[in-house]
Symmetry: D2
Subunit: 364 residues, 4 copies
């Protein structure tokens, strides 16, 4: 249970890292939307391994197939199933994992919960599962752009203590994609790449923070009191592998301010629209979008797979030492950017549909 | 929409700050649990206004009534409805609010979304709505304690920059309740109280961080991939009024470490159980509880209601100046503690039921 | 669990026949709808006991109170809680029920499931629970009428073998309410009343069939493949106490026809709209409304409570004889009419919102 | 929306009759269950076309592939995706359907709802969609058998006016599968086959009634008040293509009896268990299983596709005459049997998990 996300734009992902494949079923996509496998592939390529020298050298094409829900290039309003086959080249690298729990991985908890585990890689807990999310996110992004001109841009804000200077109101996709660190601060990006290469060579790993902005937001999205927009965004990104924290707007730093310093004063812009002078609320007040840019941050821990020796235990109940073999991302942050964007897009698209259904159109 | 939370232990809250009352319907509470209005009242008293000199001086008894679902002191397995009547003393303090949007409140967004708003106080966005959550949380806590001996303790970790030193593994409810700041570090608590009183006199407000721990956790709770335990916890607490950030385990600070510093190595304890040496994972790996203490933190912004003058606009579309009148909490943190505990309890209780249903009991 | 119904217009009912009261929380009602307790009371009065000589002589006012979600006569878009207090006059009539299972009642199954039961009357399985449904249905009806001019009319089609002749396309509420049998065929209604009075005097009971029509239906409601309109209607009415069967359109009788006799041929009406010559589909094709009148029938078994002696057993595990005391409906059909209408209205209103959200408004 | 069914054992189906394929994702299947594609194929073969002279002569292998959720022959507790590729041989037979609405099919309503339609066959409304349901039902059946020894047997009870004599308490799968009509009354089955062949030759079609029994039922399944067992069963089978009616136990015929004739008296069997003398309740009282056999019936209309000429209209808005070409089932009943069994199994399995989760295991 727990493999479905969303209320009206609802996705169900499936698949383990090894076995037949991974994918997603999208239920609730509006009909008559033009969509192609090629468009989806663009986003999948941003998350796939082997895309640069700072990601795992493992090469996988991750080519997607649309199984259903699209006819003559347009969505039917029926479930869209998208699948990516696994290459399924079972590596000897994983043999040790059959018995040995990797520290800070999900091996031990999956065994504790299910009493069984696909030990050929991460199984269901592998980041490979996010392929389905990113594919669905590509469609959600397109709907948001078409219907409401909403623009979602994620980027690496910080790697360890290297923090980029980025203005969420003006950052562009081109800036993000201009370097392999996916940090729009080009100078900082260079240092990030160096730091990641260095840690990779040492067999260790790094974490950091992804920031994501949604601009041109319509007002009114979010369903208090439990499905507040920030609550659903938090759930969405905290369901990504390796995430450890979430902030909206001023976040934890905002707790250092007083109310008079923190409050977003209102003004009327030239069109008479209600706007806020500052945006410490991060585009959401009382769980509902206020039209300002939504700005959020997600903390990702350093990759758990490292080549250094670590104390661990086996499923048979003895203590041992493990040093991971094979090829791994020394830092997931650059590849996490499209994942965060996807989750943000999925939440916003779902809330766009929910708001449509309930409020805007019915009563005069 | 969005007023229901949980999958098997499911609550629906209702009510505005003014009008007939506020309350909750709990669906899915196991039958034959002994429960009384008095037990629930204990938790409600921890969140009610007027309980100390650093909360709003407004006095409200917030006496709860169990309407249904309990018979001869025991739950029936049917929906438990609990209600607290509003005193409904409409104050002149709120008259200005009919037209004027309070900065960083939900007045403007509710108007944008619904085209109507109960302007007599916060309406549905009032923290008064959390009465239903805290009442339901009291029952969830009791189930967790009875069935699995789980203990949930929240406390104020930080007010502005005043941070208490607290060990989540040993902190007790008595320590938390020993002072009105609800910070178990007694010395720090004193400084917190001073700081809050001072800011209150100045008409301004403060924010901070609540930390919450769940101890004696059973292994196996959490439903990957979307209903991971940390994802549902994040959603739960981020749906509380004024929350701006969420962390599990090492959180944002963990991103400064390398993988070898961050990973939680495994060992076997004297009973042969798999344990971790450190707990940077915060008790959850791969979205599933690993038996270590769950430790999370929630950032609460400074109270939006302040007596200082602020720039704002009216619903009629003109700019104006607002200074709140009346009595308000200069800092919500002490009263937020039972709210955070309630949300944590609700999530854990729901996942306890979900895990029971699917895994443990069925297959041999 | 299982006390919530609907996806976007979602109700949660609570309450047992004895105890504090019964009620409903409606989540997802569009904002700015004018609604009053008086309007809701009109529908409640149609279902309450004691309304005529053929219903139970028990008198209960069933006066409803709107607790939340309505402000200055209009809905806020927040949860609407409606409550009816129980008179809670515990009758000696029920003492025997503490031990003795009433045949074809839910006493034994509630004990088997929950291990506890409110034996003071039907508890949660009492038809009193439908008060919440009828109250919510009154609001759903109003929305359907306002937004889409949909008209829902239920009536008693048959009592035992007495079947009225009624044209679903022209029947009016006035005709239904013109007699206490709620059968628009006045002559048949007279015989029904006689039959019910007679069976009541003999201590026995009767069942029958309620038919319900929804006219002026918009096209396009229904969400294949599981939430087809007829599937949700079936679930809605089959969740009513005492219901044993459901038919849409031609129903079971339609299985006696050949395809060429059964198919609804299409034609274009004077406005160019696609219509069907016949309506054996009952207004739904492929799970989606086609604009013709929705016509459905619900079978209600004879009232289980009878004054005749019956073999039964006690919860302590011995066999015994039971003859119900007190006052009961010899036939629930007339009072079931507003219940069926309510469930139909709730389903249609939910699907109206779902269709709005997804299809009509988004894509050009 | 609406392509997901179930709460804890939850399936999502996808796919149109033409395009990449059809399938299902099962979320919530307990881990460590042995399952193979071959076992699932057995059920799929019972529903596939071309299996006998009274089904459509179209031959399709409908070979299923398990994509995920199973490892070394056992379920992982993760989503099980099962897919059947479409042969996708687009037939000229369907060209006319691009413009012309087939009477009593879903062509017109899909166009009305979605503004687009896969006109190459039935698209999403094709009975081909039920492949996913039957595949998931095979797993649900196995769980029910293993965990609770529940046995589900469906059969053709009636074709037009030819009604078999079948005892639901003793009927066996072998009897059902002993003839191509799937009617365990062998003599009646012969006449059914003749009647179907005859109507097929004439270009017309027939409907009828499928009866289904679940034996060895555990007590306590069902979640009042909305998710009563009969309500979810009704929804499940009424979501099948061509279904027009549902009955549980005595059904519509029961309305002709008086209460004293209809009530199921209780007795204690030799083991001291509470049983009912008769079973007019159909194994469910108050929405909860009572341990007696669940007996239900589903009405299926005559196949809408016939070779006789019918009046209809085109999507372009003109009236025309249509006579279906190609090969069709003159009567869907024999192939509907595994579909009904699948839906019954899915509902019971879901409720088994729900009941486990909440009641039996938690409180002492």
């Amino acid at each position: 249970m727990g493999n479905t996300f969303g209320h009206l734009f609802r996705i169900t992902t499936f698949g383990e890292s090894h076995g037949g494949g991974v994918g997603v079923v999208i239920d609730g996509c509006p009909p008559r939307l033009e969509i192609s496998a090629e468009e989806i592939q663009v986003e999948l390529d941003r998350r796939r391994p082997g895309q640069s020298k700072i990601t795992t050298p493992r090469k996988e094409a991750d080519t997607c197939e649309i199984i259903s829900g699209v006819f003559e290039g347009k969505t039917l309003g029926t479930p869209i199933a998208i699948m990516v086959r696994n290459k399924d080249t079972r590596s000897q690298d994983y043999d040790e994992m059959q018995q040995t729990y990797r520290p800070s991985h999900a091996d031990a908890t999956y065994d504790a919960k299910y009493g069984i585990r696909n030990w050929q890689g991460g199984g269901r807990s592998s980041a490979r599962e996010t392929i389905g999310r990113v594919a669905a996110g590509a469609i959600a992004k397109k709907i948001l752009k078409l219907v409401a001109d909403v623009e979602i841009i994620g980027y690496v804000k910080r790697i360890q203590d290297l923090e980029g200077v980025v203005d969420p109101n003006t950052v562009t996709l081109e800036q993000v994609e201009s370097n392999i660190a996916r940090c729009p601060d080009a100078e900082c990006a260079e240092r990030m790449v160096e730091r990641i290469e260095q840690i990779g060579r040492s067999g260790d790993s790094l974490g950091g923070v992804v920031e994501c902005v949604a601009r041109n937001m319509p007002k009114g999205l979010g369903e208090p009191v439990f499905d507040k927009l920030e609550a659903d965004l938090a759930k969405g990104v905290m369901s990504l592998p390796a995430s450890k924290g979430f902030e909206i707007g001023s976040g934890f730093a905002g707790t250092l301010l007083t109310g008079s310093e923190h409050n977003d004063e209102f003004y009327l812009d030239e069109t008479g629209a209600v706007r806020t002078v500052t945006n410490r609320s991060g585009g959401i007040q009382g769980g509902i979008s206020n039209g300002e840019a939504i700005v959020l941050r997600v903390a990702f821990k350093p990759t758990a797979t490292i080549r250094k020796e670590q104390r661990t235990v086996t499923s048979a109940g003895s203590e041992t030492i493990l040093a991971a073999k094979g090829r791994h991302d020394p830092c997931v942050l650059p590849r996490a950017v499209p994942m965060v964007e996807a989750m943000v897009a999925l939440v916003l698209c779902d809330h766009l549909l929910r708001h449509q259904g309930q409020c805007r159109t019915l009563m005069p």
